[in-house]
């Protein structure tokens, strides 16, 4: 699709976004109780597992992963999955799927999972060209097995290198960054699709950290194990207001040696984590990685000098992005 044609197609999406904030936002209300951030007593995080799902980096059967995703969504929202997708996303939305592809095949968001999400969105009435699979650069996407796609009537797939960054600087706390125009100008809604993995500097990379791929200068924000920068990035209004769902690929997570792919430290967890509370999901992911590290006689992340305290910061009174209080996180195992 040519750039001009694409923008033309977004005119409807812009008005649709207005609906999300005002009229359509009423439908979203029904989904809010999955997060403490919205005042609910518990945040819900689905941990959905299917044995034998993964075989190293070989493809996973899309049907199986699609079924697992549907069960996760139904458990999280206590409704039929199709109904949930239709409530979460309007046909005039432009939905950005923020994948995590820097590590290449083996430790990037699996294509099969992304395909399953696309299929659910299509079933919910979103047109193909209104779905954008994206990350920082085409090169990162291709390295992880994605094909760059900008043709009309196709699910779009491209990096911010194609869309560019805003000229405006978005600021919160210690962060001042230009945002991917995919977030600000192209999309009206975002599904965050991170990978569960260890991170050599900030300790852990799950949902919150994935949005470092949406700013122009992530290299400036790794000091002090990413605290408070990761939390601050997630406070930037376009990210915070447009992210409606986080689906974490925990099929073959990595508990040490990240963010690059180190197969010796991955394990077949065969799971998805799904939530609307990114902080709660990160906390659950943190617990999982710590447990795996203990099993394999590695020090804790704190012991390794990279405790991901940015998760605590994201939950504090200044940020209120969600809860990290385990007593307020309801982990729903499927």
């Amino acid at each position: 699709m040519r750039r001009r044609a694409f923008f033309k197609s977004l005119i409807g999406a812009t008005s649709s976004f207005g609906m999300v904030r005002h009229g359509y936002g009423g439908k979203k209300e029904a989904l809010i109780p999955t997060s403490v951030a919205s005042g609910a007593p518990f945040s819900r995080v689905v941990l959905a597992t299917e044995r034998g799902l993964s075989h190293g980096i070989r493809p996973v059967a899309e049907e199986r992963i699609g079924n697992l995703l549907a069960r996760s969504i139904e458990t999280l929202f206590e409704e039929n999955a199709d109904t949930v997708w239709r409530r979460l996303f309007h046909p005039e939305d432009v939905v950005g799927l923020k994948v995590n592809c820097l590590a290449g095949k083996g430790l990037s968001t699996r294509l099969e999972l992304v395909n399953a999400v696309c299929e659910a969105l299509l079933q919910a009435g979103i047109k193909k060209h209104r779905i954008i699979i994206w990350d920082r650069a085409d090169r990162d996407l291709e390295r992880a097995g994605y094909s760059i796609e900008r043709r009309k009537n196709r699910v779009q797939c491209f990096g911010t290198n194609k869309a560019g960054y805003t000229s405006r600087i978005y600021e919160h706390g210690y962060v001042g960054s230009q945002l991917s125009r995919i977030v600000t100008d192209y999309c009206s809604a975002i599904i965050n699709l991170p990978v569960l993995k260890d991170h050599g500097i900030v300790g852990l990379s799950v949902g919150l950290k994935n949005f470092f791929g949406a700013i122009n200068n992530p290299n400036k924000y790794h000091d002090n194990a990413g605290d408070p920068y990761v939390a601050d990035v997630n406070m930037l209004t376009p990210i915070r207001s447009k992210t409606r769902l986080t689906i974490c690929d925990a099929i073959t997570p990595q508990y040490e040696g990240g963010p690059p792919y180190m197969p010796q430290w991955t394990w077949p967890m065969n799971s998805l984590l799904v939530s609307t509370d990114m902080v709660a999901m990160d906390q659950v992911g943190w617990d999982i990685v710590e447990e795996k590290r203990r099993e394999n006689k590695f020090s804790s992340l704190a012991g390794a000098g990279r405790e991901p305290v940015y998760i605590n910061t994201a939950a504090d009174a200044e940020h209120e992005l969600g809860t990290n209080n385990s007593a307020k996180i309801n982990v729903l195992k499927v």
Partner: protein, 365 residues
């Protein structure tokens, strides 16, 4: 790329003279060259030893500067021969007031910086990554050739932070030396000892932006540390490198008279009273738009403090037409170099001496 396009993308120097027609837009992996100054670590990690940050970088990741990348355990610069800005400026614009006054400097920069100043003037290129800004291809030899062709006796590495393109700067300075062109580095001084010593073998002058004289300021507004910058200044003195200092005064942040007195005393004691000190006026920009411009009276007070503490050459910058733009003989107090903006109106220094009283005037004239 034509000249018009370049002007559109270039963010530096209204007075500058665009030279992109000598280059071209780059794509892909142009500019990638092996980096110097790093250590290999287990599991394809590396530790960068170029600047005091000593970033430990995983495979496929970059350091704080955003222009040096680990690829499979080998470290690369992404900007060698890949400037994003190229202009011809008066040397006074750097500012260097005691180095070949009235001459032109062919001035180049790549993207990237190893600090994160909230008051950065060139943030569009200094805080960017190579793939976010259009650049040109210009080898070290080409830079030297252009400098000769354009009658520039010096090349300035400036606008962003040249420390992060140290390999390109070093190779270019060597190529310039072969053509009798001098090299000047306009830097924050946030660099380790070994690479700075290597650069001293090919540079002829350095200007350091000493951003404050407190750790607090460096931590909160620069995302860096003060001490390594002071260490660099001392090293430059030990290496007999001609060095001038710029101190941008930001209201309420680094304008305390006590701080300025400590700064002045430190310069006199550690670098010598002949070190030129430029107090520069701040204008609100980037992430400090909430602060006012520096009152001229503050700059004048700062200058008085520095002179009272023994510094001989203290200037006020970013205030066109101010009398403190000029150089005065520290011995007879006569006006020696009269400046208006970046222009030299008159110069009464002859053979490194005051033409009135014959006192030696420090500098490279």
């Amino acid at each position: 790329m034509d000249r018009r396009t370049f002007i559109k993308i270039s963010s530096c120097s209204a007075a500058g003279y665009c030279l992109l027609r000598d280059g071209k837009v780059l794509a892909g992996d142009d500019g990638v060259a092996p980096a110097r100054y790093y250590e290999k670590l287990p599991y394809r990690k590396i530790k960068c030893t170029l600047c005091p940050r000593e970033c430990v970088i995983d495979d496929l990741e970059r350091g704080y500067c955003g222009v040096r990348e680990n690829r499979g355990g080998t470290y690369y610069t992404l900007v060698h021969g890949n400037p994003c800005s190229a202009h011809i400026d008066p040397i006074e614009k750097k500012p260097l007031f005691h180095f070949l006054p009235g001459t032109l400097a062919f001035s180049i920069a790549t993207v990237g910086c190893n600090v994160f100043c909230k008051f950065c003037q060139n943030w569009q290129i200094s805080q960017a990554r190579p793939e976010q800004v259009k650049s040109m291809k210009m080898s070290p030899e080409k830079v030297a050739k252009v400098a000769v062709e354009r009658n520039c006796p010096s090349v300035a590495y400036t606008y962003t932070e040249p420390v992060v393109f140290t390999e390109y700067m070093y190779d270019t300075a060597r190529a310039c030396r072969d053509r009798n062109i001098k090299s000047v580095m306009i830097s924050n001084g946030y660099i380790q000892k070994e690479p700075m010593k290597d650069l001293c073998t090919v540079l002829n002058a350095v200007k350091i932006d000493l951003k404050a004289f407190t750790r607090r300021f460096y931590k909160e507004l620069v995302a860096g540390e003060l001490k390594p910058v002071l260490d660099t200044l001392i090293l430059l003195r030990q290496q007999n490198m001609w060095t001038e200092i710029v101190y941008l005064i930001i209201p309420g942040q680094n304008d305390d008279p006590g701080e300025l007195e400590k700064l002045s005393k430190w310069i006199v004691e550690e670098l010598g009273p002949d070190t030129p000190l430029h107090f520069s006026r701040f204008y609100p920009q980037y992430r400090l738009k909430n602060l006012p411009a520096t009152p001229i009276s503050t700059l004048e007070t700062a200058r008085k403090i520095a002179l009272d503490n023994g510094l001989k050459y203290v200037y006020i910058g970013n205030v066109p037409g101010h009398a403190a733009e000029n150089t005065y003989c520290p011995s007879c107090q006569r006006l020696l170099v009269k400046r208006t903006g970046y222009r030299i109106i008159e110069n009464a220094i002859q053979n490194n001496r005051c033409s009135y009283c014959s006192a030696t005037i420090a500098g490279v004239w």
